[in-house]
């Protein structure tokens, strides 16, 4: 058969081959683009590291500075990790910062008044669990919106922190307690190990346990989860209890690091933790809260603060830039998901 006498089928074969090749290339390009889009935040993080590294190589990339950054973000990492758990089940917790403040206030007040360190620590952790339980009850069983419930508890918990501290700074804490926030182990600050431990536990539970799968199920579709036999209310309740416990642990580390407690020292971490989790959601293809993404988010916030401090950038400009980067990352991710769907 000559090329001049192609049948319609024959005519289609080269086209089919070409279009198959085109389709194959398109799929690869789409995959690469998708990878870029979903990995954009991680790429942005690496670019930040690279930029600061180029601008201040002898300072920013030094081991001492990396240790600095890890220490500075450790407390945020703990709070953001447990915030991730709450956001996995579809809620969020505005009281995490205030709970950290209250926990610090309780442990400090008890120790200043002569209580044994372990007893004081246990009491502070119990307070965190109680706050989490109240949040969990309000959201899971009374069906209040997480925003309203945790906003209310945040306000009350903050008030309780003022009551416990009587509005003053509590200091003069025992040396044994200070090791938690100021100690070193294997050359690294102890808070880093605490943060890594919490992150690993959260990751393990979310990915490898029935509890984690049920949390994901509730966050994905609570109706379907319920029909599948998951006790949705209990899962939500448990998530908030975890957040309360984690926040109180963060409060202990913060109090130890500062060797003092005030009624408000943990408050600024709430918004930062939520920002870190939202940044982390851009790392996930499905746009859901995830611990790895949260840690990337924490890393971004920490590197940004540290790098800009080293460059001598004004605090106010830092705050402006941080907000801008969060908006850019989340908007980019949202647009990417829109186009994909």
């Amino acid at each position: 058969m000559s090329t001049a006498q192609k049948t319609p089928l024959d005519e289609n074969v080269p086209r089919a081959t070409a279009s198959a090749r085109t389709s194959h290339v398109s799929r690869h390009s789409a995959s690469a683009l998708q990878l870029l889009k979903s990995g954009g935040t991680v790429l942005g993080f690496l670019l930040l590291l690279a930029a600061f590294g180029v601008l201040r190589p002898e300072t920013f990339l030094s081991l001492g500075n990396m240790r600095n950054v890890l220490e500075q973000v450790a407390i945020l990492a703990i709070i953001a990790a447990v915030q991730t758990v709450v956001m996995v089940v579809g809620g969020f917790d505005l009281s995490v910062g205030a709970t950290a403040s209250l926990s610090g206030a309780v442990v400090a007040q008890l120790m200043v008044n002569g209580a044994n360190t372990l007893t004081a620590v246990a009491a502070a952790l119990a307070v965190g669990v109680l706050v989490g339980a109240v949040n969990g009850y309000l959201v899971a069983y009374l069906k209040l919106s997480p925003f309203v419930a945790t906003l209310a508890t945040m306000t009350s918990v903050s008030g309780m922190a003022f009551i416990v501290t009587d509005g003053t700074t509590l200091y003069g804490l025992p040396e044994g307690f200070l090791g938690l926030g100021q100690g070193r182990w294997l050359g690294l600050p102890v808070p880093v190990f605490v943060a890594v431990g919490v992150a690993l536990i959260v990751w393990f539970v979310l990915h490898s346990t029935t509890l984690g799968r049920r949390w994901h199920a509730v966050g994905g579709n609570d109706e379907v989860a319920k029909l599948s036999g998951v006790n949705v209310d209990r899962m939500r309740f448990t998530a908030f209890v975890v957040a309360g416990l984690g926040s109180s642990l963060a409060g202990l580390v913060l109090t130890s690091r500062l060797a003092s407690a005030t009624a408000t020292s943990g408050d600024p971490y709430m918004l930062l933790a939520i920002a870190a989790v939202f940044l982390g959601m851009t790392v996930s293809r499905e746009g859901v809260a995830n611990i790895v993404g949260t840690l990337v988010g924490v890393g971004i916030l920490g590197v940004l603060s540290n790098g800009l401090n080293i460059l001598g950038v004004s605090t106010y400009v830092q705050q402006f830039l941080t907000g801008l980067i969060i908006v850019a990352a989340v908007a980019f991710s949202r647009l990417s998901h829109k186009r994909t769907s």
Binding site: S62, Y141, G167, T169, L258, T262, D267, T315
Partner: protein
Amino acid sequence: MKRLIAALGLLAALLLTGCSGSNAESATSGGGTPEQPEVAVITGSYGTPAAKYAIDAFEELGTGKGWKVTVSDTDFDFNQVNSLMQDAALRKVDAIVLGFPTPEQITVGLKAANDAEVPVYVIDGGTAPMEGVTLNVTSDSGQLAEISAQALLDAMGGPGKVLVIGHDPHPGIRLRTAEAIEYLEAAGAQIVDVKQVREPASSQGEALNFTNDFLQAHQDQDDLDGVWAGWDAAAMGVVQSLNSAGRTEVPVTGIDATDQAVAEIKKDGPFTATVFQDWDAIVGRLAEVMEADFAGTDPGTNFEEKPGVLVTEDNAETFNP
């Protein structure tokens, strides 16, 4: 069962609201009496140790004089300070006392008080006489800056490289920071950086992080000779960082003379000096003038400054505020 619990909770909330409502009504209808003037203390800064001390001291003084003193804190919401001033003016209280206000932000509340002819007194409000204010008694910010800056120069052994920690949203800290910088530079010091703390609530943590990052960026021991901080909480963060980095030869000064700061000065570490703002003298003077005013004697001036007292290793042991 859940609905019952929710209903009970709602009922409790309503009852509490009703109780507080009736208290407000009695405050509206009753007001003060010549025998028991009503004084509304309004502040946004009760969460800071210095402000809390001063306001508690004033409340105790006023109650001791037989005044009916109420204290309202807006937790750094200075817009709400205006609202509370309007409420107090509406209630025709005998006096409003503002604790640590930012003068530029209280214009609305001040106007309401002036229109209602309710005198407004101020504890540590800004750094200059305020129109519409009957009397503002404040610390002499210039003097605070001067003595703390001089203490730092003395501790450094002369002019050197100084890191400054400030918080400009607070007018007192802003003024004393500017004056300290001027004083230090006039003495030949070099200001290597001025860091602004964003949140008063996290002063110590922020200052700790700043100083860590600064030391990291300037590894040379000659890069820093001293640190001037506008208030003690920030100074504590700096001290922690210096102790941690083993840079205990770098002196730090603060202002406020909090118990924690004085205790730290006694340890003979980097924390060299702080300045005590004599809140007892400030609120005492204010109460004295108010009492005379209630008895019909107008204040002679609407602005008074009280000097601070330097606290160093030399007098920390015997210092008793």
